[in-house]
């Protein structure tokens, strides 16, 4: 927190030259986000960049779907499941949506209990979130297997426009990867919470920094973002 340098600029003779000078100048203290830590600010900026990645996927999906002259496969039929002899449209996707929303709910409460320093409840809710996330990925694997067996490939499918497969695998695959990474980090952080790392300010094995319960909120931001992206995929890819 070298705030004084902002108000009373040091004579230039005190500034270091060369690469040391470059790092010193760029790391001089100038905060734009006053009441959030840099950890949270950086997570938000990462999520912003991730927004653009998913936007590009969804925009390219829109572009191929609008420009193809062959009809687009009807998602309600493609993703229907046979339950008790009747075809229920989109049922698996609906279940996956509810699971992801539930995981967001448990995560939000984990953050809350984290700030109350309730170690056990935080860990339990994070574990529940991870379990929901894992079951989501499992269902996605089931869905992929089913579609691949039915002949969907990135270059074609039995029902219509060839671009359907590539858009589907790219968008849901990238989202599933995000969920998987989230589950891994949830499990790692659950272990830290349970062990009391954030109460004893134990140093992390990788960054050697002292953590606190804000980490749970930052992980929560990532997890809610994954849910947020699914809201858009559900609306624009599955329902459109």
């Amino acid at each position: 927190m070298a705030e004084p340098t902002l108000m009373h600029p040091e004579p230039s003779t005190f500034r270091s030259a060369g690469w040391r000078g470059v790092t010193a100048d760029w790391s001089s203290d100038q905060r734009a986000f006053k009441n959030v830590s840099w950890l949270k600010a950086m997570m938000w900026i990462f999520l912003l960049s991730d927004t653009f990645i998913f936007s590009c996927f969804l925009l390219s999906y829109m572009t191929v779907r609008m420009s193809t002259t062959t009809p687009w496969p009807i998602p309600a039929k493609v993703f229907a499941l046979e339950i008790g002899g009747t075809e229920v449209p989109l049922i698996l996707i609906a279940i996956m949506t509810f699971i992801l929303i539930s995981s967001s709910g448990t995560m939000a409460m984990a953050v809350n209990f984290g700030y109350r320093k309730d170690r056990k409840k935080t860990a339990a809710l994070m574990l529940a979130t991870a379990a929901f996330g894992a079951s989501f990925v499992g269902m996605q694997a089931f869905e992929w297997t089913k579609l691949i067996r039915e002949g969907v490939r990135p270059w074609g499918n039995p029902w219509g426009a060839e671009q359907f497969g590539s858009a589907f695998f790219m968008i849901t695959g990238f989202h599933g990867t995000h969920v998987t990474i989230g589950v891994i980090f949830l499990l790692l952080m659950t272990r830290k919470v349970l062990r009391g790392d954030f109460d004893q300010e134990r140093r992390g094995f990788f960054t050697s920094r002292r953590g606190n319960y804000e980490i749970v909120e930052i992980l929560g931001l990532y997890w809610h973002f994954v849910d947020l992206v699914w809201v858009f995929i559900f609306a624009l890819f599955y329902l459109w």
Binding site: K34, W44, I45, T51, T68, A94, D227, F234
Partner: protein, 121 residues
């Protein structure tokens, strides 16, 4: 408020951290419930096979409300300072511009494909 800034930046951040984002559990449960209801609604749009502009309008409406609830409450954006809110929420507007460009582009591609199909056969 101006005299409050006399605090050194260090204590100000420490206080900010201590507060964290503490909100009553009730509001999370409420949003959770709403997300369930809205998801059910958007599923029902498909289930009842609504078509045309009504379908698209409803899908987009439920999508935006759900996204807004998640960002505002679950991600605590509603309680952050405007500097952060604008820094994160304004840039994605560029995506809408990109979308309009690509709509224009894909209409043209579609047009050339139709023309080619008619003249080529």
């Amino acid at each position: 408020m101006a005299h409050m800034t006399a605090d050194t930046p260090t204590t100000a951040t420490a206080a900010g951290h201590a507060e964290g984002q503490q909100h009553p559990i009730k509001i999370y449960l409420l949003v959770w419930g709403w997300l369930f209801i809205l998801s059910t609604c958007s599923y029902l749009v498909d289930y009842f096979g609504l078509e045309g502009y009504l379908r698209w309008f409803l899908i987009l409406l439920f999508m935006m409300v759900k996204a807004g609830l998640i960002v505002a409450v679950f991600m605590h954006m509603a309680w952050e300072r405007l500097a952060l809110v604008y820094a994160i929420l304004v840039p994605p507007v560029a995506v809408l511009v990109f979308m309009m460009i690509m709509v224009y582009e894909s209409n043209y591609t579609f047009f050339t494909r139709v023309v080619l199909a008619m003249s080529g056969s």
